[in-house]
Symmetry: C2
Subunit: 493 residues, 2 copies
């Protein structure tokens, strides 16, 4: 079935038998990929731009081709050019978890292919989303005012950046409704020098002047958390100058270093000055499934919105971002549309059970992401997800201790979750850079870097779905070996 | 395997055997769904909000549950609450095609779960995207200046709305770089009263004053296309008043009626006044795979950007929106970010082969959508896709003739693609509304409506992956029967 070319006149795109034949073949292909993934260089071996483009024809084929030749091309031309995010030795950026549950949940979403942009356009899909965001919120210990069951509510989006654009738009329009649109030129947004670049981009997208984006410096003294006092001073200075403080972003688990901003203190500043507080827990929010990490979200009841990405460290294949808001009305009054072609029987608003999610996001159309996250929660349960998080935290702790015990290295900032930031001490940045390159070029692991206080730092982000203690021990062996080589060269010069 | 509950301490989320067992079970579940989909009421039968919410527990389970019970719950609780977008008798909104190729392509994307936000973060994934958007552009006969091979380029996004926000941001920032940010208050955006609501929402999101969104009226005389003369007058009036005409949206295949704006004439107005012209061919762009429909895109070489959604009528499961731009630099200079944690080996810019796609979209992270569209193009080929489009156009033509031949009905606007807009003539809107309700409540088909020139119009959008001529003949039978009943009641009163 999968091996026959398709005759154009007889294309039956959802013939159940042909569908099943092709899909079973791809399942087996992927299972084989997972079996072999640690045999590939983690970071794409061949970094010459244009390699794939040269291999492929310049136009789509005129006639359909058999699945076998497509899969053969994937194996031969594409896999060797990928960076293998699911490799157990992928420690770069942040993890992007795949899992059997996330995959099968996504298969249900993609296979049913319904579009729950209006409640009426697929009632059970919209309702499942309201259920699953409440489940997630409870699982992470979020305050009830952010849940539907407590008067707030949540939505699943594709990324933190979308969530930021939506909440910035809501905050902006709430303020402009009072002050007039001209005041857009006076709105100010606050973040730290550790806040994700997404916030600056989002601020720009929604039309707030780039010069009104305030970057508050952090330092080792506060563990690179955003000091509430400095925010207060900046806000007061801006207010005194006739500007309008609008939006403050606090992060729990920054991208560079895993730093944590003091949510409660930031919330108090935001409340006092009528600002929208968003808490970005994209990566570290997953850890809050374990009670021992909930303290970092203390004060979240002062936030107007909170977001985290199950697609990072929560076994939910890309994409899935949870956004919770205290005031759904603030969001929907900025983002709703009501054209005639969408006014159909069954559309209602106001109750959590009958939400038109198009008014909670940038786009009109959307995927049935809720079923993916629901399958993950059902299949692994809270206990399974806690075990998943703790496995990585334990491995990261082990690695942190190993680094600290080796005189040649230093831990740059204390580990809070599963990210360890370290460097070779007593040598310059170039040597550290060389060490990282040597590791990555070996193909046996992939890590990325950060720069803080002018120092080049290597990041080991533990969290891959297949990553076990042994892989972390292996990468430490690899690092020690490469450090020997690099330092030997350095001291010989 | 799939039937065993998971022990928390032994969760191995990507164990190849467990992955394959679960995934094969879900493939069979979906194949069965496709076999049975025409047995469900097309529109969700039970429209009482809250039905599903009441059936589900208030919190996620503590312990993992077997796949079988999850699938049993999907079958019992979720499927009956869905509107079945893949039913062959779904004629509402626009089609949202699933297909075996789209599904297996998405499986590869979701299973590999790589994140091609930087070229270096997955080179072959980024490169495949540059190849596949060029393939698509050539297939639709787009001018080469919108393709990488001609100095422009394309990107795959999730929705037209995202594409609109990106291009509006690019157009806005190109103009503000010249005039200063204060000029944001003077920017003006133009569309017709038939343009998708997405454009008004996008304009609002990017901070352009809502009062600067111009809605140009259309009429039956122009087939509800946007009259270029009226645009020119509005633009000249605004310019004379000190405003800054920024962005003009033309649509090929409007959502309400399938109307077509005169792209070339709009392009000439846009050029003369330095405006960005975007052509939205979300639905009808797919038809351009057939040469007989390419004329509607005549003048596209005057556009700054063009978008269309393979996830509508091009056998590519949701989501997938192609956006092409003539000037990639205009897009990336508005949307690029370059934080330290993303400065890694291998990042280059400027060549189509080494693109950092994060600078072409709202979000940082992204999915490997290119492999999905590539599998669709490979599996069906240009010939298969043309056959797919023509099958539906033929069925829509047949339906249009049947309606025209029945004295009780009228075709409201000439069909151009596969959308037929019609109504019962000589009776009021309430009777038409009643007819539509009767059809939808039968569960045997689902259509939606539109209002034009104050008249209620029923829309039959042909285009489902399983929709054959017979289904269109059946819905015409159904409509005639329901019309008998409704008109009998009407004339008895």
């Amino acid at each position: 079935m999968g091996s026959l070319p398709l005759d154009a006149s007889s294309v039956r795109p959802l013939d159940p038998e042909a569908f099943a034949g092709d899909s079973h073949a791809v399942v087996d292909f992927l299972a084989e990929y997972y079996r072999d993934v640690d045999k590939y260089p983690v970071r794409a071996a061949d970094l010459e731009p244009g390699r794939l483009r040269k291999l492929l024809p310049e136009a789509a084929p005129e006639h359909g081709e058999p699945l076998d030749s497509v899969l053969e091309d994937v194996r031969r031309d594409i896999l060797p050019g990928l960076t293998h995010w699911q490799s157990p030795s992928f420690f770069a950026y942040f993890p992007m978890n795949a899992s059997a549950a996330g995959f099968t949940g996504e298969m249900l979403s993609v296979g049913l292919n319904v579009v729950p942009f209006l409640w009426a356009a697929s009632p059970a899909a919209a309702e499942l989303e309201t259920v699953v965001v409440d489940w997630m919120g409870k699982l992470l210990g979020l305050p009830s005012r952010l849940l539907f069951s407590g008067g707030g509510g949540g939505v699943l989006q594709g990324s933190t950046c979308e969530a930021v654009v939506c909440t910035l738009t809501a905050a902006r329009d709430r303020t402009l409704a009072r002050l007039g649109h001209e005041a857009i030129l006076r709105l100010v947004v606050y973040a730290s020098d550790q806040t994700h670049a997404t916030f600056q981009k989002g601020t720009r997208i929604v039309g707030i002047p780039p010069s009104n984006f305030r970057v508050i410096p952090t330092s080792a003294a506060s563990g690179y958390g955003l000091p509430a006092g400095a925010v207060r001073e900046a806000v007061e200075r801006d207010a005194a100058a006739g500007l309008v403080p609008l939006y403050l972003c606090g992060t729990v688990g920054t991208t560079g270093l895993g730093a944590v901003d003091p949510v409660r203190e930031l919330g108090e500043v935001a409340r006092r000055h009528g600002m929208w507080l968003h808490v970005d827990a994209a990566y570290a929010g997953s850890a809050a499934v374990c009670p021992e990490f909930r303290g970092y979200l203390d004060g979240a009841e002062l936030a107007d919105s909170v977001s985290m990405n199950p697609h990072k460290w929560f076994l939910t294949n890309n994409d899935c971002c949870c956004l919770w808001v205290a005031s759904p009305a603030a969001l929907t009054s900025a983002l709703s549309t009501d054209p005639e072609y969408l006014r159909n029987v069954g559309t209602t608003t106001g109750t959590p059970a009958a939400i038109d999610y198009k008014d909670w996001q940038i786009s009109l159309s959307r995927r049935f992401r809720a079923i993916k996250l629901w399958v993950v929660l059902r299949r692994y349960g809270a206990a399974g997800l806690r075990a998943h998080i703790r496995r990585h935290v334990t491995a990261a702790k082990w690695f942190e201790r190993a680094v600290a015990a080796d005189q040649r290295f230093e831990v740059v900032v204390p580990r809070r979750f599963s990210l360890v930031c370290f460097r070779l001490r007593a040598v310059n940045d170039d040597v550290n850079r060389e060490l990282l390159s040597a590791v990555n070029e070996s193909g046996r692991a992939f890590m990325t870097h950060f720069v803080v206080d002018g120092k080049f730092v290597i990041r080991l982000a533990v969290g891959g779905a297949m990553t076990e203690m042994q892989h972390v021990m292996d990468v430490w062996d690899l690092l020690q070996g490469k450090a020997d080589e690099v330092l030997q060269r350095y001291y010989q010069l």
